[in-house]
């Protein structure tokens, strides 16, 4: 139990750190974002009431006269109420609303493709690691190449080849917009068809890391005594591979899974851009390009929350998978 408490405590701190970072970034950096923002708002014809100004100053850390810590408290209060401010580029829509529209897409795309990449990579890695020193090892340089390819570059090449030249997949978008999003087969089929290329990119670009990690762990695990014992016990190779070798070798990969989500979200920001995918990455870029600071902060906060949440889940799960963690410290 205390393992779990500790973990939850840690995530509370991490969450607080993320919130504080979000609060601090605009205040630490030079320039006055509030002015930029308000100029932008005015330019677009928005009304700038003193309240609006105050709200933004609070959110972004402008030249507010109040002491920093009161600003900080108000900010935290706003965050807990889910009030992330108003998006400039989508004025007057609140940031939370803008983000909530994009969330499902990213969650599904990134989530699924990360899981696929991880499962595939781990399975392949286990396979390659199970027979180290065979021809399978020659897969490794290829995977390192894949792992070092910039996501967007790969994405562009893939679209060029698979979508433009061969015409197998649609080039952009999240689904056939004629359809109404919902739980009907037609829509889901279309979403899969449209999501295939982005997912393929993410899978291709991230599978190498999993494969290598798993392979190395597998090789290390194979020299453990318990593998030898299993062999001596007369277990079948399949049984050894599954319940002994892979089961132990996969642990670091599981631990790394949630962390890698952070990396993948990162990669997907750009991938979404390439594919005009309706996800959160697209919003983040839009926000940056439009100097929509509130949205920028909101998206960052959301991504952080998602990664933290995923980490928490994996950590809690990990406590179940690896009985030793619960005992440690």
């Amino acid at each position: 139990m205390s393992y779990f408490l500790r973990k939850i405590g840690f995530y509370a701190i991490a969450l607080w750190a993320a919130l504080t970072l979000n609060f601090a970034i605009p205040r630490m950096l030079p320039g006055n974002p509030v002015d930029i923002l308000l100029a932008k708002l005015q330019q677009r014809g928005g009304a700038v009431s003193p309240e609006t100004r105050k709200a933004y100053a609070l959110l972004l850390g402008g030249d507010d006269s109040r002491p920093l810590w009161t600003q900080y408290w108000d900010y935290l209060g706003n965050m807990f109420r889910g009030d992330l401010g108003v998006s400039v580029s989508y004025y007057p829509a609140p940031v939370s609303e803008v983000i909530s529209q994009s969330i499902p897409w990213t969650v599904v795309l990134v989530g699924l493709s990360t899981i696929i990449a991880a499962v595939l990579g781990v399975a392949l890695g286990a396979f390659v690691g199970w027979k180290p020193g065979t021809w399978l090892d020659s897969l490794i340089p290829a995977t390192t190449l894949l792992a070092a390819v910039p996501y967007f570059w790969l994405a562009l090449l893939l679209t060029y080849l698979l979508a433009r030249v061969l015409g197998w997949f649609p080039m952009q978008g999240g689904y056939d917009v004629v359809l109404t999003p919902g739980w009907n087969w037609e829509f889901i089929a279309s979403a899969i068809q449209y999501g295939f290329l982005p997912a393929l990119t993410i899978v291709l670009a991230s599978i190498g890391g999993w494969l290598l990690g798993m392979r190395n762990m597998m090789v290390s695990t194979l020299s453990e005594d318990y593998i030898l014992t299993a062999e001596a016990k007369g277990l079948t190779p399949r049984k050894i591979l599954r319940s002994y070798a892979s089961r132990n070798a996969v642990l670091p990969s599981v631990a790394g899974f949630a962390l890698s989500l952070g990396f993948v979200v990162t990669g997907s920001v750009i991938t979404e851009q390439v594919f005009s995918y309706p996800g959160i990455g697209n919003r983040l870029l839009g926000a940056v390009q439009n100097n929509d600071y509130a949205l920028m902060q909101g998206v960052f906060l959301f991504i952080t929350l998602a990664v933290l949440g995923a980490n928490l889940v994996v950590d809690l799960l990990y406590g179940v998978i690896d009985p030793r963690t619960r005992a440690r410290n």
Binding site: M1, S2, Y3, L5, R6, N329
Partner: protein, 301 residues
């Protein structure tokens, strides 16, 4: 000549499991004296607090309470600055106690330099070779530039001894110095230690769980059990005439080819039943309260 006086040493570790904290008393009111030219063996099972005492002696840990005094010939305590020069240690694992990255020379030259034993480069080098020769590592010139992995376990342990002696240490703590070595070379190292001890009239604390070597290489044996001293006395007396249940058990557990079949014939002893509240002192010939150290005799058996 330097002697060490340990009085009422207590060391508590705080163990944390989750949010709970528990205290573990690793050393419980231990008093000991190390005199020049004498070897005291500290025996006891795993986890009985032997290494903890060694760590406190070398100031790698602070005692929770109690004192460690290192006294010079004239009875004056050594200053903190010179403590490390007087008290040195040989570690258990010869493979781990030398830094694989550095040459043998580095290992011995460093303490010489730190403690100002040598001034010039040449002098240092000469001293290093001398030290190597003292621990029978010849030809010293060939050994000095080597790296630890180029030496066998026994040779490494000799280097470790040379390093410990380099600052001119008068008190040597040897924490299971041979338990990681191959059987066939253990005696060599122990004999070397014995010789140096005699030559330099060192005060040695020999930590081991091997009763046989404890008996052969020390003058006095102190038996530690769950942090407390449960028996002490001259080596032969402790081994041949153990009083405390735990010492008896230890003596029994040591293999003795003179009496084959002993293993099966004797019933297992329930260790939980052994208490550590009393201590038999062979010097005084009486039982004492273990946790109170040596000063207060409580009751006769």
């Amino acid at each position: 000549m330097t002697s060490v006086k340990i009085t009422d040493l207590v060391k508590d570790y705080t163990l944390r499991s989750g949010l709970k904290r528990t205290r573990l008393r690793a050393v419980d009111h231990v008093s000991l004296e190390l005199a020049p030219g004498r070897t005291v063996a500290l025996v006891g099972e795993s986890g009985s607090g032997k290494s903890t005492i060694a760590k406190i002696l070398t100031r790698m840990e602070r005692p929770t309470s109690g004192t460690v005094e290192v006294l010079l010939d004239d009875g004056t305590p050594v200053s903190n600055g010179h403590y490390r020069r007087e008290v040195q240690m040989v570690f258990q694992d010869p493979f781990a106690s030398l830094n694989p990255f550095h040459s043998i020379e580095h290992h011995i030259a460093r303490p010489l330099k730190i403690h100002g034993r040598t001034k010039t480069q040449d002098e240092t080098r000469k001293r290093v070779l001398e030290m190597l020769e003292r621990v029978n590592l010849t030809p010293a010139e060939a050994i000095a530039p080597r790296r630890p992995h180029e030496l066998s376990g026994g040779q490494r342990q000799r280097v470790a001894i040379a390093r410990a002696l380099a600052p001119g240490a008068q008190v040597l703590i040897a924490d299971e110095p041979v338990s990681m070595l191959d059987v066939s070379i253990r005696l060599g190292v122990l004999n070397l230690l014995g010789r140096l001890q005699r030559e330099d009239r060192l005060a040695v604390l020999y930590i081991t769980h091997d009763l046989a070597t404890a008996r052969h290489f020390s003058d006095e044996i102190v038996v530690l059990y769950r942090g407390r001293v449960v028996e002490r006395g001259p080596s032969d007396a402790v081994i041949l005439d153990p009083h405390h249940d735990y010492t008896k058990l230890l003596a029994l557990a040591a293999p003795d080819p003179e009496r084959p079949g002993r293993v099966t014939s004797e019933a297992a002893v329930d260790r939980k039943a052994i208490d550590n509240s009393t201590c038999y002192d062979h010097f005084a010939g009486e039982w004492r309260e273990a946790a109170a150290g040596t000063r207060t005799a409580v009751r006769a058996d």
